[in-house]
């Protein structure tokens, strides 16, 4: 497998390639060894990130392994010592010719109307290695063309050459084997099962790897010709994994995103969100000019007016100014805004997280590992957070590969089963509110009594695995919004005691959130993780004089009339903050709401002033992924109308207020960042722009993280169902909703219950279940879901149909529900 990197000191295996003596690595496939030695062998089915299958025979070459030359598929053949290989010989050429003639026998040759034309391996190989003629005069195979196999992908079976790439990807990489070869012989076709579409989060990858035009992406069909596309490398910003991409534009409009093979991160794969959400930048709803509220309505205005109005609203007592958001921004813009808010205005009420994650000190302070280290063969991976497939799909692909192919051991400590559960060696089912005590018991070695839903033998087993001599990596985050973040923090405290040398990978939501935390868009910190007081005083005009609020506290303060001006940096607290009642109360009392965004959301639609910002693909900058890896974000198109990059807006706004931020170009801004944050200066910035994986930003942090005694487990209640709330990949988030192809992918909100509980509650014949919480009741649709543990109820957040935030309140440590069939229960009478 190519995922196993060739180690440095390989003893070369000598072989002869077209008469020249060369060397291969141990176990290397001939096709790869030839490539490394400068000889490209044509291929269709072979893909370096998947197992070889030898389906297409395009890679036949003449090989003499000692028994005379014979044609062999080079993608299936590991190099053996002294093998003689001829890639240019007559027999090889004849074989290539023959294979192409066969492959083209049934191919419709509709290249003029095919999206793949111009970048098609079949076209290219036919030109380079084919005869240019066919002897096949019979009628070709016909199929209805194309058929949609999912909302995003269309399949033209006539064009398919049956290379097995898409189907292998679906089962081997994505673990969504929803497409398959159907029928046999000349009738073989790729297809789905009737009414079971290929709705994989990774479906777009099959379009990219299909070596012909059989699979096409609905959003890109007939949009452009590949030779007309203008391309640049960048980083996907749909989640925190930082997958590397190529952005392609036609006539100043983004039309396609392709995955780039980054060894450190995404191995060429992308989630469909990473791939298709560029559509939002082309949305007709983009804010293209500054808006100001006038007579209850947002009206276009000039930048100057908007800036003056904003400056007036911000030039007040810094304790009455707050800012929420900033994860959408580039690292440079994050720094600029941190400087404006904290250095110029002097407020510390700044938070890029929206009450759905963990304290910033933990994310910043826990020793970080890398994806490659966590996924190294033989490691132990502990998942104590949300389902990686929903939050960072690219990371999910890497974790799954590590466990399935490379023998890593997965231990899951989560309130519901995740997409990785079936590969877990051990799964600790922690009922909401118990994870802190579970980890505490493990750390104290108290392994003989059950803790909550976790049985003593499971504790014993976990302890044994975690305290062995294998390296432990902890993928952590907020697994459940319906229980207090306190429990997750306690669990991390326990893990620190149990495995002192474990490495950590934070699994947060919101693209560049790690950049935001590092650049100080969080209370109590300045760029580089410096603490407010003392840090940076000599480099910035000033620093906040007080310890600020996080989003939760900002909203509470605002609800009490303590905040006059609120800045939203691409955030949507009304739509996204777990306690919607609190967010609503806060918004009712804000005097001036300044939104800096490229698209209006529920919150920014209520702004007093809207400053139009450039989005993804429209500005240059830097991305910081969950490992702390810095990679480039690059502009390929110009921002629409008068929209500007966020760092420009920050500088102009500062100018309008008075002090200058001290840069006029991105280069100057970067120099200033490097001068201010020593760890940023340690990074090789040329490496960020280089073709490799990007350097790690790793400030020296030997923080003593303080973990108090873990909170007691909440008592069991007669309202016997504990609520689990987390996020799905497709939801009502602003970017997805403005991407035409993604907007309808969010499924309806339904309550999910374990199949057993459905029997227990006698719900089998019903459509709805009654949910009681406090004085209120709801009628909700439900489904059986084996991922849900007994006595818990899972409802994903931000889906159409029901806003689960109605059940959440910032004040509750866990959320207990009573579930019943429609009738009023007897004990109430």
């Amino acid at each position: 497998m190519t995922s196993v990197e060739p180690t440095e000191a390989v003893t070369g295996i000598p072989f002869v390639l077209n008469g020249t003596a060369v060397e291969a690595n141990e176990g290397e496939l001939l096709i790869e060894a030839c490539e490394r030695n400068g000889v490209h062998i044509p291929r269709f089915c072979y893909h370096n990130r998947m197992k070889p299958v030898g389906m297409c025979r395009m890679c036949l070459v003449e090989v003499d392994g000692g028994r005379g030359p014979a044609l062999q598929p080079s993608c299936m053949l590991p190099v053996t010592p002294d093998m003689k290989v001829e890639t240019e010989s007559e027999p090889t050429k004849k074989a290539q010719d023959g294979v192409l003639e066969f492959l083209l026998a049934n191919h419709p040759l509709d290249c003029p109307v095919c999206d793949k034309g111009g970048e098609c391996p079949l076209q290219d190989n036919a030109y380079a290695f084919g005869a240019g003629e066919t002897r096949f005069v019979e009628e070709k195979r016909h199929y209805e063309k194309p058929i949609p196999i999912s909302d995003l992908v269309q399949l033209d079976r006539e064009r398919c050459i049956l290379c097995d790439r898409c189907t292998r990807f679906a089962s081997e990489v994505a673990d969504d084997p929803l497409i398959h070869f159907i029928d046999r012989g000349s009738q073989t076709q790729v297809n789905t099962f009737p009414d079971h579409p290929f709705s994989s989060y990774f479906s777009g990858n099959t379009v990219q790897i299909c070596p012909v035009g059989a699979l096409t992406a609905t959003p890109y069909r007939f949009k452009a010709r590949p030779w007309d596309l203008d391309a640049i490398e960048s980083t996907a910003a749909a989640d925190t994994s930082g997958a590397r991409v190529v952005l392609q534009a036609s006539q100043n409009e983004l039309v396609r995103t392709l995955g780039v093979d980054s060894e450190a991160v995404n191995w060429s794969w992308l989630s469909d969100k990473d791939r298709f959400y560029y559509e939002a930048t082309n949305s007709p709803d983009r804010v293209t000019e500054p808006l100001i509220r006038d007579g209850g309505e947002l009206k276009p205005t000039r930048w100057g007016n908007a800036m003056r109005a904003a400056a007036r609203a911000l030039r007040i007592d810094p304790e009455r100014v707050a800012a929420i958001g900033g994860a959408r921004l580039t690292l440079e813009s994050q720094y600029a805004w941190a400087k404006l808010l904290k250095g110029v205005l002097g407020t510390d009420h700044v938070d890029a997280q929206l009450g759905d994650s963990l304290p910033a000190a933990l994310t910043l302070g826990l020793p970080r590992t890398t994806i490659a280290e966590a996924c190294a063969p033989g490691q132990i991976i502990v998942l104590m957070g949300p389902d990686p497939k929903e939050v960072a799909p690219t990371l999910y692909i890497r974790l799954r590969h590590a466990v399935v192919e490379d023998g890593a051991t997965l231990i899951e400590i989560t309130p519901r089963a995740t997409s990785l559960s079936k590969y877990a060696t051990l799964r600790l089912q922690t009922a909401p509110g118990t994870v802190g005590q579970v980890l505490s018991a493990l750390a104290d070695g108290q392994l003989d009594t059950n803790v909550g839903t976790v049985q003593a033998p499971e504790l014993e087993r976990a302890h044994q695995l975690l305290t062995g001599d294998r390296q432990v990596s902890v993928v952590f985050g907020r697994a459940n919004l319906a229980e207090s973040a306190r429990y997750s923090a306690d669990a991390l405290g326990g893990m620190r005691r149990l495995v002192p040398n474990a490495g950590y990978l934070p699994l947060l939501r919101r693209s560049n959130i790690h950049g935001a935390l590092e650049m100080g868009l969080t209370p109590g910190f300045l760029p580089g993780g410096a603490r407010n007081r003392g840090g940076l005083v000599d480099k910035w005009p000033s620093t906040p004089e007080f310890e600020g609020h996080d989003t939760d506290a900002i909203l509470k303060a605002a609800a009490q009339g303590e905040i006059d001006t609120l800045v939203l940096l691409g955030a949507d607290p009304l739509g996204d903050f777990p306690d919607s009642t609190l967010a609503e109360a806060a918004f009712a009392n804000i005097k001036t709401l300044i939104a800096v965004d490229g698209l209006l959301n529920t919150s920014s639609a209520r702004a007093t002033i809207v400053l139009p910002a450039a989005l993804f693909g429209e500005e240059d900058g830097t991305f910081c992924n969950l490992e702390g890896r810095l990679s480039p974000i690059r502009a390929k198109v110009t921002p629409p109308g008068l929209a500007r990059p966020d760092w420009v807006i920050a500088a102009d706004l500062s100018h309008a207020i008075g002090p200058e931020l001290g840069y006029t170009t991105l280069e100057e801004l970067r120099s200033q960042m490097r001068a201010t944050v020593p760890a940023l200066d340690d990074v090789d910035w040329d490496e960020i722009d280089g073709a490799d994986d990007g350097p790690l930003f790793r400030p020296e942090r030997n923080w003593e993280l303080e973990f108090g005694d873990p909170a007691q487990m909440p008592p069991t209640s007669s309202y016997g169902y504990r609520l689990v709330v987390d996020h799905k990949l497709w939801d009502l988030g602003t970017m997805s909703q403005h991407s035409a192809s993604l907007a309808n992918l969010a499924g309806p909100a339904v309550l999910r219950l374990s199949p057993n509980d459905i029997q227990l509650l006698d719900l089998a014949d019903r459509q709805q279940v009654t949910v009681d919480l406090g004085e209120e009741s709801w009628e909700l649709p439900f489904v059986a879901d084996p991922q849900v543990a007994p006595r818990t109820a899972w409802i994903p957040a931000r889906l159409p149909g029901f806003d689960v935030r109605e059940l959440l309140s910032a004040g509750r440590s866990i959320t207990n529900l009573r579930l019943r069939t429609g009738e009023v229960p007897a004990d109430v009478e």
């Binding site: 089962s171 969504d176 084997p177 929803l178 497409i179 398959h180 070869f181 159907i182 029928d183 046999r184 297809n191 789905t192 099962f193 009737p194 079971h196 466990v403 399935v404 192919e405 490379d406 023998g407 051991t409 590969y423 060696t425 051990l426 033998p457 087993r461």
Partner: protein
């Protein structure tokens, strides 16, 4: 009705239990469902997928690979006439034409009474007995035109108890108590994916 019925679900579970991995029971379960319904329905494939933990597409992939799994209703009796070389030389084609006329259907078609489906097949490995045919996969050797009419009459007259009705291709059952089977090795674990093997190792450690 098209999913496996209750008694067949019990049988299915028994069959699944015989394999180290449930997925291996796919083909026996396809047989079971064809035996139940005469052909393999979409619902049955979905049901099998649920039972063995794969996607319906994977079941369809396997099912459609084998021609003897029928995904559309067929007659109670499949009449498969060989027209490959040996049979052709000894009158296979004539036999097929005769069958077409007698039954009034083309290959692939089913008689109106739903009794016979005619198929034109390649060598069925009985060349020494050419021309030959199969009726529900039971051989009839050296079939003359007259013999063909007799066979059809026998079947219509209910005189062919040896021919099962369509769907029953194989009976993969094992009602013998495994303890009583001498000398049968447990399935070895070679070739299982590492995560599966490691889980098994760990399970062993745990019980040790």
């Amino acid at each position: 009705m098209s999913r496996l019925d209750a008694s067949n679900v019990l049988l299915a579970r028994e069959i699944i239990a015989r394999y180290p991995r449930p997925k291996s029971a796919m083909i026996p379960l396809l047989h079971l469902s064809q035996q139940q319904n005469g052909h393999v329905t979409n619902e049955a494939m979905e049901h099998i997928a649920e039972l063995i933990g794969v996607t319906p597409a994977e079941v369809l992939g396997t099912c459609s690979f084998y021609e003897m799994f029928k995904r559309e209703p067929v007659g109670r009796y499949m009449v498969n006439i060989c027209t490959n070389i040996s049979c052709q030389l000894l009158g296979g084609e004539e036999l097929l034409h005769h069958a077409e006329e007698t039954l009034g259907i083309k290959p692939g078609g089913t008689t109106e009474d739903g009794l016979f489906t005619l198929e034109d097949v390649e060598c069925i490995a009985a060349c020494t007995e050419a021309p030959c045919l199969q009726i529900n996969y039971r051989y009839e050797n050296r079939v003359s035109l007259g013999r063909f009419d007799e066979i059809i009459a026998e079947v219509r007259g209910g005189k062919r108890a040896d021919v099962p009705t369509h769907g029953t291709l194989a009976r993969i059952r094992q009602h013998i108590d495994p303890d009583r089977l001498a000398g049968i090795e447990p399935p070895e674990v070679a070739g299982v994916p590492p995560w599966f093997a490691s889980r098994q190792d760990e399970a062993k450690e745990e019980t040790a």
